[in-house]
Symmetry: C2
Subunit: 316 residues, 2 copies
């Protein structure tokens, strides 16, 4: 849920979703400078890493250290991904504020991504929530789940909406504080997005969580407009659309944070984010990953003449 002085929470996932898709590792100190710059630009929640096996994703091997450093940034919610209880334990030990579990609606995707069935993944969420319940409330991390391939799967094709909703309810029963929907494969369209987020809210009420859209087919911001109409107030995005596959030019990763923030502020929705500062942070990415392709139109085009932020204090 956004703070009182913002209307929409932009949750930056570049340091996790972006960097995990790039074979090279960004040096830990650069990750930290990037996260600091993002927080200074006004981002309030950042997914800083993933507690997966360092053997599988060596780019994420420093997740514990990155979390510990990020926790020193005042006002920042430090989020990290955990695929299972073991990862969650590492995240909790490092001091995350929030754990994010990817739980795939597609059986094939689930097995290939985290080597578990959807039911087994939900069980990991349940065990993690039980573990968290034993932690004193001031230190207790919240647990959120994101249903991957909720809008379709590149392996299975169409995914049952009833099944997605059942999973969402089961995840809430397992203790997840919020459950979001992810367009992992870039299949979603605005009609489907509006229908599914509206239904998610009917089914799990204020546990309904973030929208996580990949921009694979260029439809990301169109889907954001639809999700806003369904009442979604938290959106994941990645600076520079980081995580585009170099084998498929144009097949970008997440929606681009810069373009998303421009969309929201233009629509009169306060994000608390300063675009000039945000765009300046791109330099740090390129320091850590020289030559890495960065996406986004607003960084190239700049702000329109006479542009006014919705966020108070950002104008002039």
């Amino acid at each position: 849920m956004p703070d009182l002085d913002i209307d929409v929470l932009v949750s930056e996932v570049g340091p996790r979703d972006g960097l995990q898709s790039i074979a090279r590792a960004m040096p830990t100190d650069v990750k930290h400078r990037w996260i600091v710059a993002l927080a200074q630009a006004g981002l309030r929640e950042i997914e800083v890493g993933s507690f997966v096996s360092p053997r599988l994703l060596p780019q994420m091997a420093d997740a514990g250290q990155v979390v510990r450093e990020a926790r020193k940034i005042a006002g920042l919610t430090v989020l990290a991904l955990a695929p299972n209880l073991k990862g969650a334990e590492r995240g909790i030990a490092a001091g995350v504020h929030k754990l994010s579990f990817p739980v795939s609606a597609s059986r094939q995707h689930s097995v290939s991504n985290i080597r578990m069935t959807p039911e087994q993944a939900i069980e990991q969420v349940r065990q993690t929530c039980a573990l968290c319940a034993a932690i004193p409330s001031g230190l207790r991390p919240s647990v959120e789940a994101g249903i991957s391939t909720a809008f379709g799967c590149s392996m299975e094709g169409a995914v049952s909406e009833d099944w997605v909703m059942k999973m969402a309810a089961d995840l809430v029963s397992a203790g997840a504080g919020s459950v979001g929907l992810s367009d992992t494969a870039g299949c979603a369209n605005p009609v489907q997005v509006k229908r599914m987020f509206a239904r998610l809210q009917r089914e799990i009420g204020n546990h309904a969580g973030a929208a996580h859209f990949h921009n694979t087919r260029g439809q990301g911001l169109a889907n954001v407009v639809a999700a806003l109409e369904a009442g979604v107030t938290t959106f994941d995005a990645s600076q520079g659309g980081l995580g585009g596959c170099p084998c498929a030019p144009g097949a970008t990763g997440n929606i681009v944070t810069e373009d998303l923030v421009f969309l929201l502020e233009s629509m009169g929705l306060r994000t608390g984010i300063d675009l000039d500062r945000l765009i300046a942070a791109r330099e740090i990415i390129l320091e850590g990953l020289p030559g890495e392709p960065l996406y986004g139109n607003v960084p190239n085009a700049g702000l329109p003449k006479g542009f006014r932020y919705a966020s108070p204090g950002r104008n002039g």
Copy 2:
């Protein structure tokens, strides 16, 4: 207005808006092959050229010949731009079905673009409509106007909505069959788009015309979603987002036809367009303009597994 068997008319402007932004000229025979391929992909209306001074835009010097060839394509509405009465006369002589007049709401943009004030531009529309009225109805071209910089101007900044609406009413009085709104500078946001197209319909009823969005800041398809909600049924788009400025990478031209068609068909809106054939037509552009950067995500990512068209007869 779309035909009965489609829900949304995609009006391809690449051969005009795209090519006029590129310094090199595409050879006339390649233009013709491209237009044929677009029509074969299902596009029903194509803006094939511009009757401007060949001194100013040598890329458009063959507009008459291109129109005459395009008229031979069965079922295609052949549209051409005219900035003034003189251009309109050339277009009529070549046999266009429709003339499109750009009339800028921004005084500065109007003078720098067509060396006329908005009032003078409206007067050219009036004279053209009077000329057309004298043509036998079976041969008479229709006249549409597009209000450029309707959502903001890169020179003047914000543009008065009241002024845009007054211009629209004046253009209808001058005889224009339809009046659309153009986001020439890529300033528009979905809230503004929905509000202005809804108001346009209130002010000029069924004379309300096409939405023409540039994708300068990556917001084009988000604005399409908003325009659809306001009841817009005709959208301009350019194959490959042709017309991006090579000096500003990412500062693309119009919204990308391929991505737009995917959006509309995914939403259940019939366009009558076949995406595989459309994507294949990109090759012809590159034959005529080797090395030209083409934009769009769907051409790279392909269609999702299990994708179904809204258009009947396109599936399987």
